[in-house]
């Protein structure tokens, strides 16, 4: 198969944003029936390459070849007509429309003059079923969960009969199970002769499904070869440009400090019931659970973003409910899992975003702009935010770098207690390591961290203690050597034969 002529190819393509060049003479090709993975660090230019292939961006220089013929797409429509479909890294759904309306947007089925609602509903149902996604076709997209949105996005792409399917980090917000469903679809499409371009920061996935791998570094292709014989470590090394050491910092052995956060019988109406737990000074507390277990909602309740009943105490003092600002003043901040809708002002500058949460620290009557600039310098250095310029809008950062900016913003408030919700979504492997180190150091310095992640190895690798949630309730707690995948899954799924060690923990 790999010897077939490419369907779609880039020939010495460069791309600039203003004076900044982000792609340099990229050669790239996609063949029918092949899964081609494009990997690289955050900001390496993966999304940009994909958008050029799919006709959303123009190349500054170089040629795009479709079936060997140079082509210039007037717009993404032209690309779609040519059978090239892309799933974007950032959600690309109209929030106020329903699932079905989004899936068929721009390609509505008609019966005469009118829409054929029934056919579209039915087909949407079929597509979603194929993805084992339970959302109703009539549900409004703004009302469904993040993973479901991704599934809808995938369903939308599947509904268009593609010759070329381009997927930009489709699994970043998916769980394993959902990812498996997606891989089955990819398998099916590959067998049907579709050319697939895929990117992900989860290198195990890449190793599993890719036939060919291309590595981008700082806009240059540094490697392009068949996937066989390229180990995960080798991929990571090619991406980062150095050998990777241990991903997780060594676990600390320490005596638990005094409790700094005590949550008692906290109920978030409709999602969380009677949750109680404590967090000690200098501790990293993991939160695990299935998607929809209510971790996010519980944390949002604690920091005052949702209505709650029950009590939250910080350093022994009751926290005023319903006020994010009060929580912040008490030294408690929350880093949201939804960077696009709740985390960053995408059309504002990096600086404005960085200091928004901690603005009072920069305000002495007037805002101290020099101080802000210095903070931005610091953040760029400390969190390795790769930006072509200091003056771009946050939305123009690459996805992973947006996430880094969000972390920097949260940390700027200098919290005693920080709740971090899915911080490594869309983050490259090198940076993940930096983030783990960072969290580790925070705890070392006496800050307390709640770490929520759906990536179980992360939780296991970082946390000293793990709370597991199941359908809005706290199902149990694990410490020390009890923290392992099996124990967490049992608690998360509510299996009866819970290990007895649990009770002692």
């Amino acid at each position: 198969m790999t010897d077939a002529p490419p369907i779609l190819a880039l020939d010495a393509v460069s791309r600039r944003f203003g004076p900044v060049q982000v792609l340099f003479d990229v050669d790239f090709s996609l063949r029918a029936g092949e899964v081609h993975a494009l990997i690289g660090e955050n900001g390496a230019g993966k999304s940009t390459t994909m958008k050029i292939l799919a006709g959303y961006l123009e190349a500054s220089e170089g040629r795009i070849l479709l079936d060997g013929q140079p082509i210039r797409f007037a717009s993404s429509e032209g690309a779609e007509d040519a059978g090239i479909v892309m799933i974007h890294q950032e959600f690309n759904l109209a929030e106020q429309l329903t699932v079905e309306q989004n899936v068929f947007l721009g390609r509505e089925k008609r019966k005469g003059l009118f829409l054929d609602h029934r056919a579209m509903q039915a087909e949407t149902r079929v597509l979603l079923d194929r993805l084992q996604c339970k959302v109703a076709p009539k549900a409004r997209v703004s009302d469904i969960s993040v993973p479901d949105k991704q599934m809808v996005e995938i369903a939308k792409a599947l509904s268009r009969d593609a010759r070329v399917l381009i997927m930009d980090e489709p699994t970043a917000v998916l769980t394993n199970r959902e990812a498996e469903v997606l891989f089955a679809q990819i398998e099916r499409l590959r067998a049907a002769g579709v050319a697939i371009l895929y990117t992900s920061h989860k290198l195990d996935e890449v190793a599993r499904i890719a036939d060919r791998i291309t590595v981008l570094r700082d806009g240059h292709v540094v490697l392009s070869q068949p996937a066989d014989g390229l180990s995960e470590d080798a991929m990571a090394a090619a991406m980062v440009g150095r050998e990777m050491e241990d991903l997780y910092p060594a676990k600390r052995q320490r005596v638990p400090g005094t409790p700094v956060l005590e949550v008692e019988n906290l109920t978030v109406p409709g999602v969380v019931q009677e949750a109680s737990f404590t967090l000690a000074k200098g501790e990293i507390l993991g939160f695990a659970g299935l998607v929809g277990a209510g971790r996010t909602e519980l944390m949002e309740g604690i920091v005052g973003l949702r209505q709650t009943h029950g009590s939250v105490r910080v350093n022994g003092q009751p926290l005023r409910p319903g006020s994010v600002d009060a929580a912040k003043r008490a030294g408690l901040v929350y880093l949201t899992e939804d960077r696009k809708e709740r985390g960053l002002l995408l059309n504002k500058s990096l600086k404005d975003n960085l200091t928004l949460l901690a603005l009072d620290k920069f305000t002495h009557g007037l805002i101290d702009r020099k101080g802000e600039e210095a903070a931005l310098d610091n953040a760029i250095k400390e969190f390795d935010i790769r930006t072509p310029s200091r003056d771009i809008a946050a939305g123009n950062l690459s996805g992973g770098n947006q996430q880094k900016l969000l972390i920097a913003k949260t940390m700027l408030a200098d919290p005693d207690i920080v709740i971090i919700d899915e911080p490594t979504r869309g983050i490259d492997i090198g940076t993940k390591q930096q983030i783990y180190d960072f969290i580790h150091h925070l705890a070392e310095k006496g800050h307390s961290v709640i770490f929520i992640s759906s990536e179980m190895p992360e939780v296991i690798g970082l946390a000293e203690r793990v709370v597991v949630m199941r359908s809005g309730r706290i199902a149990g707690e694990l410490t020390g050597s009890d923290i392992n995948e099996q124990a967490i899954v049992r608690l998360a799924m509510g299996l009866k034969d819970t290990p007895t060690e649990m009770a002692e923990a």
Binding site: Y56, S75, S76, E77, E80, H88, N92, L93, A94, E95, Q96, L97, V99, Q101, L105, G106, R107, E108, R110, L113, F114, L115, H117, K134, V135, A136, K138, A139, R140, D143, I144, S145, P147, D148, T175, N176, R177, E178, A179, A288, G289, L290, V291, G292, A293, S454, E455, M456, P457, R470, S471, E485, I488, V489, A492, M493
Partner: protein
Amino acid sequence: MSVAETTGKPAGAAPRRGIDLHVLGPLVALAVLVVIGILLNPNFLSYANITNVLARSAFIGIIAVGMTFVITAGGLDLSVGSMAAFIAGLMILVMNAALPFTGVSVLTILIGVATALVAGLVAGAINGLLVTKAGIEAFIVTLGTMGIYRSLVTWLADGGTLSLDFDLRGLYRPVYYDGILGVAWPIIVFAVVALLAEIAMRHTAFGRHCAAIGSNEQVARYSAVHVDRARTATYVLLGLLVGVATIMYVPRLGSASSSTGVLWELEAIAAVIIGGTMLKGGFGRVWGTVVGVLILSLIGNILNLTDLVSPYLNGAIQGVIIILAVVLQRTKRAAR
């Protein structure tokens, strides 16, 4: 490795109830007004009064239906009132000018009707193209054209009133005052326009595209929706409907002047929003707009049914009721 298996959550089932109550909001407000009307005056439900209220709602109503599409697609049009005045003036001038050649005949009126439709179409297209091609904010474009049309009609009328030839008026008059089976023409036209628009909004690709553009223009663009074309089309449609409204308006008063259609734009926009369409775009409801228009007309009618309040305070009562009508709607939604 990540945690597998999602719990079987019934995603998307929740909004149902919320929307149902939200839907009821404008209807409840309308019902309350009707009850108040009945209590205040026994003639409120008389055939004549109902016909009056519905027929006079038709102008704003037809325009507001078009406005629903513009707003749903994330736009706005402040020029409709002036546009209506200008088209009415133009129509009268053209019909008067045609009179020596075509006489007092249906043909003359058809020439006028054609003038109105073409003028509406062109005026809508100008607004639409300035918004989409020149990329100027709809508020500014239509504020500009609002001034332009208002001036033009004043100028056409030489500061006074443009009047349709008296005999022609006699021939044209039934278009407002008569009807079939006791239903006046404006009511029929309004109903037909609303019905077609409701279908267009809910059952055609155009309606969906409007909502998509208003919800997220980028997404619509990425989904191969012809954004500029659809957006221009909303303004053209609105222009055309302004033309239709004018065709019903001219036989009512037989004249046009610089005071024709003043503040219609605000009334139309208010009706759209009272009906539940979102000003920011992304969601539109034609039947809601119809209810909104009826609410606004009824307020005026009810204030005329009684002399409980000083006429100076009519505007205040009107303002309070508009706010209350929407409060009702919002509280219902919050209570879901």
